[in-house]
């Protein structure tokens, strides 16, 4: 009798295999040339043009945003009440965006139409396996595209895969009253910054000039030094060379300041570092353009500072370099799916949310769309938080964002955080531990199909 049970089990196994084969094999063959439109397969050309038919101007679109983008969507709905029923905004964790696209590709349905994400995430959905973004050339007039700053991060092989929302160039934030009290001037070069650190360590121990403890803080020093830890030579070649003089100079700066205890050892958002700022123990640090929004206690009790306490200065440059190389932390964009049925509405939405005047006046994000920058300037320049007008500095820095802000198709922050923490845990100097970076990056790069070179 026991054998009989096995017979039935075996039968079920065979049947489910047959069923599984039937169920899954059918969509496989035609998938390359067929699009499912409203439940019916429609054959499209194998290589879709910039625009992928058929279109339906009345089709609803799904928009993936984060919570802070909700007002932008609401403003669009208010301005276009006739489209209100067509737009479904969903708040998602956009770090999941690349993996979700893969799932949708497998089921051949379900893609969002518009996604709010950083260009680094757009880069990850632009490869053959994801094949997600729609080339916006033709959909958005060339003149309009030229009005956006930093579009190089959205341009892949000549295709425009996103529109920049805001820029996140690093600038120097400093505690203006404290600088006056100590009688210091704001440095302009990294060399002066290092010299100031020695002075501060000697005269006022216990005060800090920044922090180094995760991937972003790593980039604030190394990307700003043009250190090729992740330099895209072309779409399939990645240059990783930590022996480059640009890397070693940044490493010895960081080592010097860790040794004289003027650099803290966490990320920017660590509660301990936050408390040091609130306690007026942090004299200055390089932070992204949007970070001023966290000061002044505007978000809960974050980084409380008094009026006119926050000074903003140009990002540091290396004495040997002609101009500053500016790192960036985020700075998002809007991308449209090439699967969308209503690209007209999708494009109308993303141009509205990046260009609308009322929406951007008073925003803490630095707008990427140049024509609204003067309006934004009025709002920040009169903000009592600042000790000086931050706009000219931020605007100048926006044009100096490093080409290294073009990320390869893998996450840099996790391995770099690991690197920074590992350096501390092994009690090594950053200089001595630099060779760990290629060890961390190379397998990730190779898995993504990059040729890793050292030059």
């Amino acid at each position: 009798m026991f054998k009989q049970i096995w017979k039935y089990v075996w039968l079920m196994v065979v049947m489910s295999m047959v069923l599984a084969a039937c169920a899954t094999a059918s969509p496989a063959a035609p998938a390359v040339v067929t699009q499912m439109v409203a439940g019916t397969p429609v054959v499209v050309t194998a290589t879709p043009a910039a625009t992928q038919s058929p279109y339906d101007d009345n089709a609803p679109i799904t928009v993936w945003i984060d919570q802070p983008r909700q007002p932008a969507i609401d403003a669009f709905l208010k301005a276009n009440p006739d489209k209100a029923s067509l737009i479904k905004a969903v708040v998602v964790d956009r770090e999941q965006f690349p993996s979700k696209v893969l799932l949708f590709n497998n089921t051949n349905q379900g893609w969002p139409d518009v996604v709010f994400a950083e260009p680094r995430l757009v880069a990850r959905v632009a490869d053959a396996a994801h094949n997600f973004p729609l080339d916006l050339t033709g959909w958005v007039p060339a003149d309009t595209i030229n009005n956006y700053s930093a579009m190089s991060n959205c341009t892949f092989d000549g295709k425009v895969f996103c529109l920049r929302n805001d820029l996140a160039q690093f600038v120097t934030y400093y505690n203006a009253p404290l600088m006056t009290q100590f009688g210091y001037t704001v440095p302009t070069t990294w060399e002066d910054y290092q010299a100031l650190s020695d002075k501060l360590a000697k005269d006022h121990p216990g005060y800090y000039l920044g922090t180094f403890g995760d991937g972003w803080t790593f980039l604030s020093f190394f990307e700003a030094s043009n250190c090729p830890t992740h330099q895209l030579v072309d779409t399939s070649t990645l240059n990783i060379n930590v022996a480059d003089a640009n890397c070693t100079r940044a490493a010895s700066l960081v080592d010097h300041m860790i040794a004289n205890k003027t650099l803290y050892n966490t990320d920017f958002f660590n509660t301990d570092f936050d408390k040091l700022i609130t306690d007026n123990k942090v004299l200055m640090f390089e932070g992204p353009a949007w970070m001023w929004g966290s000061f002044g206690g505007t978000k809960g009790n974050w980084w409380e500072t008094a009026s006119h306490q926050l000074g903003v200065a140009a990002p540091f440059k290396w004495a040997a370099d002609p101009a500053p190389v500016v790192a960036a932390m985020g700075g998002a964009a809007w991308t449209v799916s090439r699967h969308t049925k209503n690209p007209k509405l999708a494009v109308a939405l993303i141009t509205f949310v990046t260009e609308d005047k009322t929406l951007w006046t008073g925003s803490e994000n630095f707008p990427a769309y140049k024509p609204i920058q003067p309006l934004w300037q009025q709002a920040v320049s009169s903000n009592p938080l600042f000790a000086n007008d931050p706009f000219p500095i931020m605007q100048a820095a926006a044009d100096e964002i490093s080409p290294l802000d073009n990320w390869p198709r893998f996450d840099l922050i996790s391995p770099l955080t690991q690197f920074a923490q590992d350096t501390y845990q092994k009690k090594l100097t950053v200089t001595a531990n630099l060779p760990e970076i290629p060890t961390l990056f190379t397998p990730l790069a190779q898995a993504q199909g990059y040729d890793v070179v050292t030059k």
């Binding site: 009798m1 599984a20 084969a21 899954t24 590709n105 898995a447």
Partner: protein, 318 residues
């Protein structure tokens, strides 16, 4: 396997002879299947079905983003073996298993034997207390552990600081990870296993225990020479399930390695299951992911089979 099915068959034949008429026999069979049905359905839907699907797509090619079935041959398996992270993740999980399985089993058995030596209100209260953390699931436990191991947040922060751990990152290092995961796993799972092993101890016949007492055994001798050998099958059972569970380690390293919220020195891909996840959701290669998942299944099955053969777990004694 041949042997054990023969054994079971003998048993069933014996029962058939005893149970009389063929009508009642059929009735009993149908009842048995009716009781089994929900399990079989779920097993097909969530166990066997996905397994078969994984087997299918492990031969599919995903380079264009969509599966092309049977186009990859064994390439996905080769991709897995050639990946530079393969050795690293298996070394990690090997180290974790070497530590967690023996330590986990030894501690559970020891605690159970101790609890069973002096049955009473204290013992049963303790058993309940051990069981309570089992209510917390993987991700919640990770958060709990992060909280407990952050010296500035933890209620036991002073203890951590007194032994030289000033920050979270002093505690979480690549070398300490297997122990951290052991603590998490033991905290959650121990209570259930203590309950099971305690049940096994309760099942030991009183006559045997009385005989041991008359023969002059003290409590420790009873535990070591009488109880331990008698609950051996349950220990084997625990080995199989703990091994199968721990080899699948995923949530804990995945959450600890999440650099958006936790800035810790945890490799992005630490365990083989994370590598499988990375194949699927970082690289879009669901085929390689399925191949690795099947390799993990084979390892689990292999270890269980060896353990069963070695201990004669399924042997039915007459």
């Amino acid at each position: 396997m041949e042997n054990l099915s023969m054994h079971v068959e003998d048993q069933s034949k014996k029962k058939v002879r005893l149970s009389g008429s063929s009508r009642s026999r059929n009735r009993r069979t149908i009842d048995a299947y009716a009781f089994l049905l929900p399990y079989i359905l779920f097993m097909l839907a969530f166990g066997l079905g996905p397994g078969i699907y994984a087997f299918l797509i492990s031969f599919a090619d995903f380079s264009s983003g969509l599966p092309r079935y049977f186009a990859a041959g064994i390439n996905n398996y080769l991709t897995v073996f050639k990946d530079s992270r393969f050795g690293f993740t298996f070394a990690n999980i090997g180290e974790f298993l070497l530590i967690s399985v023996p330590v986990g089993i030894a501690l559970v058995v020891l605690l159970t034997l101790l609890l069973h030596m002096r049955p009473g209100p204290v013992s049963s209260t303790l058993r309940t207390l051990f069981f309570v953390p089992g209510a917390a699931v993987g991700p919640a436990v990770v958060l709990l552990v992060i909280f407990m191991l952050t010296p500035n947040l933890s209620p036991f922060g002073f203890l951590l600081k007194s032994i030289g751990f000033k920050a979270f990152n002093d505690i979480i290092t690549p070398a300490s990870l297997p122990f951290i995961f052991l603590i998490m796993g033991f905290f959650v799972g121990a209570g259930m296993w203590i309950a099971i092993q305690y049940g096994a101890l309760e099942g030991i016949s009183n006559e045997v225990m009385e005989a041991a007492t008359i023969d002059g055994c003290n409590e420790w001798q009873k535990a070591l020479y009488i109880k331990l050998p008698l609950i051996q099958p349950y220990i084997v059972y625990q080995f199989i399930l703990i091994f199968a569970g721990n080899v699948q380690l995923f949530v804990e390293p995945q959450l600890l390695g999440n650099q958006t919220y936790i800035h810790a020195n945890v490799p992005l891909v630490w365990s083989p299951n994370q590598l499988a996840y990375s194949f699927a959701f970082d690289l879009g290669n669901f085929g390689a992911s399925a191949a690795l998942a099947l390799i993990m299944l084979l390892i689990g099955l292999g270890a269980s089979y060896l353990m069963i053969r070695w201990t004669g777990f399924f042997k039915i004694e007459n």
